[in-house]
């Protein structure tokens, strides 16, 4: 999209307030991320959507996929069919053809050609953004922590590859280093260090991170799509650029992939690099793939990593905050 001269904007909804509007159409026992995103659209309160030329969507979950059919009545939608068998060449080849089709769709939409050079320069910008985000998240490795998990969860931005955001990330990293030099810590030494895994959080849906930190813990790393998961691999800058892009996304260890071994490999690495004391698995209500996969993750964390594990299934509302506190505080006291 950057290569086409367009501005990519993430439309993931992260507020509870748009959910009632969505529930007028969607079932209530659906993932809050889908309902929140759709709620923005049906209540016409998202200017990004209103001004968009094209909605680019993917098949990472069935709920989203069918929701896109509903928004296709309002805007042109292009669906990328993400194949899910990570080990199969045919699956990758199909995914690559989907990525190639998106390039053609963007060329038609903007009546221009997207050259390999355009793609390479977009890849460089996005790799730079990924590297900066990763460097910022790596402040979580400090012990005692210099940044709270809440601060770290706020460094993402809706617009991709935006120069102002990259500058803000550089400032954030500088600030973190300065805090370390001056010994200004975000939490006392010995605070329980939590590795958060599972569904993504967004600005407005940091309830669980807030509760963990109110109970004295620190979320030092997030193995989620809003954290380190998409930053683990860069897009290769050599070779066919579309193939490099396709490869990066195909290897993302999302719970929609099967089998999803990449997630446990990443968890093991992050648990040791960030010296985590416990793993907390966040499942948004009705996110079936993460919900089912949590059984495998619990077994892996407890048996292979020999670490305490807790699964939290919740939604965007604040109604269970006190109940979450009981569980999280117990875990903190048990560590």
């Amino acid at each position: 999209m950057l290569a086409a001269g367009a501005i990519p904007v993430c439309l993931c909804g992260a507020t509870n307030s748009t959910i009632p509007a969505a529930e007028a159409i969607l079932p209530s026992n659906l993932c809050p991320l889908i309902k929140s995103s759709f709620g923005y659209i049906v209540s016409d309160s998202c200017s990004f959507f209103r001004n968009a030329d094209l909605i680019v969507a993917e098949t990472t979950c069935d709920g989203k996929k069918k929701m896109y059919e509903l928004i296709a009545e309002k805007k042109p939608v292009h669906i990328l069919e993400l194949t899910q068998k990570v080990d199969e060449k045919e699956a990758f080849d199909h995914w690559l053809s989907e990525v190639r089709k998106l390039k053609r769709r963007l060329e038609e939409t903007y009546a221009r050609e997207i050259t390999d050079d355009d793609l390479r320069s977009a890849i460089r910008i996005m790799n730079e953004e990924r590297a900066l985000l990763k460097e910022a998240f790596e402040l979580g490795k400090e012990d005692p922590p210099v940044m709270t998990g809440l601060e770290l969860s706020e460094i993402r931005y809706r617009l991709a590859g935006e120069a102002g955001h990259l500058e803000m990330l550089r400032e954030f990293i500088k600030d973190g280093r300065k805090r370390k030099e001056e010994g200004r810590y975000a939490a006392p030494a010995g605070s329980p260090r939590i590795l958060l895994t599972g569904c993504p959080t967004g600005q407005g849906t940091t309830k669980l991170i807030e509760v963990i930190e109110e109970c004295g813990g620190v979320v030092v790393a997030q193995e989620t799509c809003s954290g380190l998961k998409p930053l683990d691999l860069m897009v290769e800058e050599e070779g066919d650029p579309l193939e490099a892009i396709a490869k990066k996304y195909f290897r993302l260890p999302c719970s929609c992939m099967t089998p999803n071994r990449g997630r446990t490999e990443l968890l093991e690495r992050l648990a040791s690099e960030y010296r985590a004391d416990a793993v907390i698995d966040l499942v948004w209500q009705a996110c079936h793939t993460f919900n089912v996969e949590s059984y495998l993750i619990e077994r892996y964390v407890r048996e292979t990593l020999s670490m305490p594990y807790m699964k939290i299934e919740t939604d965007y509302s604040d109604s269970d905050r006190e109940r979450l506190k009981v569980r999280i505080q117990t875990l903190m006291e048990m560590l």
């Binding site: 269970d320 109940r323 009981v326 569980r327 505080q329 117990t330 006291e333 048990m334």
Partner: protein
Amino acid sequence: MPFCGVDIGSRSIKIVLFDGSGVISSVVRNSGAAPAENARKAFHEALDSTGIRMEEIANVVATGYGRNYFKEADSVSSEILCHAKGIAHLFPSACTVLDIGGQDSKMIRLGADGRASNFVMNDRCAAGTGKFIEMVSMMLDIPLDEMGELTAGSSEVCEISSMCAVFAESEIIGLTQSGTPVDVILRGVFRSVAKRTLAMSGKVGLVPEVVFTGGVAKNAGVVRAIEKETGLSLMVPEEPQITGALGAAVIARAKA
């Protein structure tokens, strides 16, 4: 020197004064609309009834939903750990604690020295908790403390299949309309509580000996229903409502 545990729960406040080996005095009051204020009153009632002055208390630990709002507390602790400690104090041989309170149910596995080694707690729904039984009590107009006796004797039971307390209510209305006897309905209610509770055991394991505590353990009908579903015999403390506060007092002694 006395120690004090204060458990401010969703439905009731429990105060325990503890001398290091046994309970000196305990008070149970409703949480009401101003739980912090009611807890303070109950705390002073407990002191007055024993003649112990506040300055004499070595350490106060608060637990339960209101734990952070009880200003007299020296520290707070999670109610799950408090129930574990309280039960381990009363029943040194216990391996599993089942606690059903006003709005939560919890299953806790005890490790060495009475510490919780694993636990599971119900999600946001109050089905299968004290609140659910209280609702049935109001619907059928049967006082809570008469329910246990009413269901003794027979084993005739009906199916209550709704997982949701609100839907279970409409199911019960249907049963009363069709003339199902109240004791049969109650046994159905208690069995559904037992089944919901057992659904939690997969994660923690129901390893004997099992102690059943929390306000709902005072209901002999629920005790029987869980024993029947599990085939285990449950131990129930003399005063199941105060085990969280007792555990808080045990922790207060350790911290003093």
